[in-house]
Symmetry: C2
Subunit: 166 residues, 2 copies
DNA sequence: GATAATCTTGACTAATTTGCTTGGGAATGT
DNA sequence: ACATTCCCAAGCAAATTAGTCAAGATTATC
């Protein structure tokens, strides 16, 4: 499990696709302009997203990309791991050929956490994120009817996720 | 929120410290050998961990590092962000100087997710991880009394974390 | 006090990853 | 035919990672 700006670009682009669902195929040029990502970089990312069937493509004029499945069936963890090219041998390279028991023990502690994070991210769908945003926007508009950009950057990470039964 | 091998090293080292709590200060040389991390790299990481008071140091012979607080008061998110040096301007650089509403919208969707992940990781303490492992070890030993390394690499990410009220 | 163990700091470097450019293709609607 | 789009691969600058090296500062022990 890795989480870098690369994954952020991928998730952002997928969210952009979700937001324009129903408008037909969306061109990468549109996403590039809207999200401030270079077209060629997007092409690389979408190449991987396509191999994992997270997006579908249509070539030719009027073509573009659309979500490979419904937004509530695509999970953030999938998107991130699709672009991560993660062969990540975790030092112990899967097998238990560590130097000693101690090292292996600590390694297992880490991989345990990694699995937890992954499980967590694989429960959050693109639709979930959009729903959250929609709810907040409505609430914000009710509070501040005359502003273009209400205080959306105020952290409201409620962090109500449970700790997965440690 | 960033999650790379650097953070993994830091968490692994902190877990090593936790496991040897009560044995007095632990030298970086010990951790380096046990966890297979270079001594000098550990020095860099611990310099940052120390600035955030996540570890305490004792100099001179017999010196070393120990946890800055109890293991159940140190959270994974803290450890990771301590070594991340995260000035991460998130493209919109905090303010709302985006190109248009749409871009800002998608950006907020991402930062929302980022906050969620962060909140999640800040609920998992080092103690939690050790407890999980301890429980599993006992269970495994009961099932396979004669093995040194029972099947600990089998994923058991139960992922019972809730999705934070999307 | 000398010495050795250990943390502390900073400069430097090789390898890898990121993010992007360039330059070509291949498919397809008009 | 042509313009538009996806597709693909090579290459490249900047950043990050992971590490080395070298010089110190502190302190327990002899």
């Amino acid at each position: 499990m890795k989480l870098t700006t690369k994954g952020r670009y991928a998730v952002t682009a997928m969210l952009d696709l979700s937001l324009h669902y129903g408008e037909g195929p969306i061109t990468l040029a549109d996403i590039a302009q809207r999200q401030g990502i270079s077209l060629s970089y997007l092409e690389q990312l979408f190449s991987r997203l396509r191999k994992k069937s997270l997006v579908a493509s249509v070539r030719g004029p009027g073509g573009g990309y659309s979500l490979g499945r419904a937004a509530d069936e695509i999970f953030v963890g999938e998107v991130i791991s699709a672009v991560d090219e993660n062969i990540d041998t975790t030092r112990c390279s899967g097998a238990h050929n560590c130097q000693n028991n101690e090292r292996c023990l600590t390694h297992d502690l880490w991989s345990d956490l990694s699995n937890q994070i992954y499980g967590y991210l694989n429960k959050i769908s693109l639709q979930d994120l959009m729903d959250r945003q929609a709810v907040r926007e409505v609430a914000d508009r009710q509070d501040h009817p005359n502003q273009e950009h209400p205080g959306l950057d105020v952290s409201l990470a409620d962090g109500s996720g449970d700790m997965a039964g440690a």
